[in-house]
């Protein structure tokens, strides 16, 4: 199903990647290739993490507007980061090696997401709107707490947080790349192996039980996957609010299929095209004057509004 379109998307992704590696390259290839290669890898990783996590989240909430970032996943991560700097001080925080920082935050994020959203997910059946509102309010609460702590903090230490709180595609932490690659890779494989169960889960709670699945258990497993993916992408490049929404909804439009075997690769490829293509345009025609996140958030915001105003989303 939609094999041609998927192939087209894959070709476009390849083209973008090749252009990204070679366009305007002057000087030593020994420098250019590893430098751009690491960046490309990071962009691909972030694209697949964000696309997959948003798709999974929309499948378990059965709603095409929700994303992990709207429900406060990003804010939870940033809150933990701020709390760590606040409690340990920038010096103490800086002394923890980066992979350890990352793994600790990841563990905390998974625990936090499971307690908060695990209980919240049970409300879906009773009242979806209440669950969304609760999620949004929790997100706001995290952001406020975050802002509060940022204000109390020493300005010098605050700069550590600030650097980590905005999406950054030009300066990617390559130290984290290998560990992120491992985590994301494993998670994506697990998500791919769950694709048929995801199809069934998307039918709804009762229909999934009827077909012999256990929606509660599967939802928890998927929440863990989402936490890993969100944490990895934020740790690598910072929060990108609308990328997931944009990418997944474009995927629904280009490959309208109920099967995750189609939707997962489609969303990942579209994410890669948007990120790599966008970064390329920024580097070569806009001269890095605008951060990529601004462009993506603007485009994502417009898609979001169109979706709501068109009223076809449930």
């Amino acid at each position: 199903m939609h094999a041609k379109r998927l192939a087209g998307l894959a070709a476009l992704t390849m083209l973008c990647s090749m252009l990204f590696m070679t366009l305007g390259a002057r000087g030593n290839w020994d420098f250019v290739l590893p430098y751009r290669g690491a960046k490309l890898l990071a962009l691909l990783l972030v694209a697949s993490a964000i696309a997959t996590s948003t798709l999974l989240f929309q499948t378990i909430t059965r709603n095409r507007i929700l994303t992990p970032s709207i429900m406060g996943f990003d804010a939870l991560y940033l809150l933990m980061l701020t709390a760590a700097v606040f409690l340990l001080g920038a010096g103490g925080y800086g002394q923890i090696p980066e992979p350890a920082q990352f793994l600790i935050t990841l563990a905390l994020l998974i625990a936090g997401a499971l307690t908060l959203y695990g209980t919240l997910l049970n409300q879906i059946r009773q009242d979806l709107m209440r669950m969304i509102l609760t999620g949004v309010i929790i997100g706001v609460l995290f952001r406020s707490l975050n802002a509060f702590m940022s204000r109390m903090i020493d300005p010098n230490e605050f700069s550590v947080i600030q650097i980590n709180s905005y999406a950054r595609f030009n300066r990617i932490e390559t130290d984290l790349l290998s560990i992120a690659l491992l985590l994301c890779g494993t998670t994506l494989i697990v998500a791919w192996r769950m694709r048929h169960r995801l199809d069934v889960l998307a039918l709804g709670h009762n229909a999934a039980i009827n077909l012999g699945e256990d929606p509660r258990r599967t939802q928890l497993q998927i929440l863990i996957l989402i936490s890993v993916l969100v944490a990895t992408s934020i740790a690598l490049v910072g929060p990108v609010a609308f990328l997931g929404l944009l990418v997944v909804n474009v995927a629904y439009l280009i490959t309208p299929s109920p099967r995750h075997a189609t939707l997962l690769p489609s969303a990942v490829l579209i994410g890669a095209i948007v990120l790599i293509g966008g970064q390329m345009i920024l580097e070569h025609s806009l001269g890095l004057s605008t951060p990529l996140a601004v462009v993506i958030d603007l485009a994502g915001g417009i898609v979001f509004l169109t979706l709501i105003l068109k009223g076809t989303v449930r």
Binding site: H196, V200, L203, I209, N210, L211, P258
Partner: protein
């Protein structure tokens, strides 16, 4: 065959079901009737493991609900999904194909595809197969859902108020379909109904519930009587008899 013993269920402080002991006959249509809030839907949801059992036991074809493996039960017992729950973007064929999931877990074999085609043919859905559910009428949608349940090939089928929002033609053809399923394919069917006339017109067996307790049960002709309407439903209505089946004058 569905056997229920010592089943009680509480929601908050309210006891919704009290000491239910019940055997539902094999290969027949059983209608569950009773006033609003009597616990009919809860009973059905408990049998279908949509909500966990608190006290008591339910056995379906000697499989114990809540203890045996989920996918094993999914090959023995199915519940008709509510049409408002299913995504309307699915095509009829995609929906019916989901009925085979308990057997192939996402990797359909040729016999699964054949079963889907049989289901589509049996319920005269061939022409509608490529259309999305959003473009179907309420009756056609219900038929597609029943075809999915048929493809699931379970010996027991549960339905929770399937006649909601259906007009008289769609309701009658749905009930006729269920009759065919039970007589030609020997399926045990349990159906929650609001309209007593549909229950007495199509069911082999009626079970009544009131305030979470079992009321009279048996063949429609033995159950649907003026004193039942008085005792269980609390309303005065006359009962006529037509070819051995009672009709409540509304």
């Amino acid at each position: 065959m569905i056997a229920i013993s010592d089943l009680s269920h509480r929601i908050g402080a309210k006891t919704v079901l009290r000491d239910i002991d019940l055997r539902l006959p094999q290969g027949q249509i059983t209608a569950l009737i009773g006033p609003n809030g009597a616990g009919k839907s809860t009973l059905l949801s408990l049998i279908a493991r949509l909500i966990p059992i608190q006290t008591g036991r339910i056995e379906v074809d000697s499989l114990s609900v809540g203890q045996c493996a989920n996918d094993m039960l999914a090959r023995t017992l199915s519940i008709l999904p509510q049409s408002n729950e299913i995504s309307l973007r699915l095509s009829v064929r995609e929906l019916v194909a989901f009925g085979r999931y308990p057997y192939h877990k996402g990797r359909p074999r040729s016999e699964d595809d054949a079963m889907v085609e049989t289901a589509l043919r049996t319920f005269e859905l061939d022409d509608l197969a490529p259309r999305s559910l959003a473009t179907l009428s309420g009756g056609e949608r219900q038929r597609a859902l029943i075809a999915m349940t048929f493809a699931q090939d379970t010996s027991c089928i549960l339905l929770d108020e399937p006649l909601n929002n259906l007009d008289i033609a769609a309701s009658r053809s749905l009930m006729a379909l269920l009759r065919r399923l039970s007589s030609e394919h020997a399926r045990t069917i349990v159906i929650v109904l609001h309209d007593i006339n549909y229950a007495s017109g199509y069911a082999d067996h009626i079970v009544t519930l009131k305030d979470g307790r079992l009321g009279p049960s048996g063949h429609p002709a033995d159950v649907v009587k003026v004193d039942l309407l008085q005792g269980v439903f609390g309303t005065d209505a006359a009962v006529l008899i037509d070819r051995g089946r009672p009709i409540v004058k509304v």
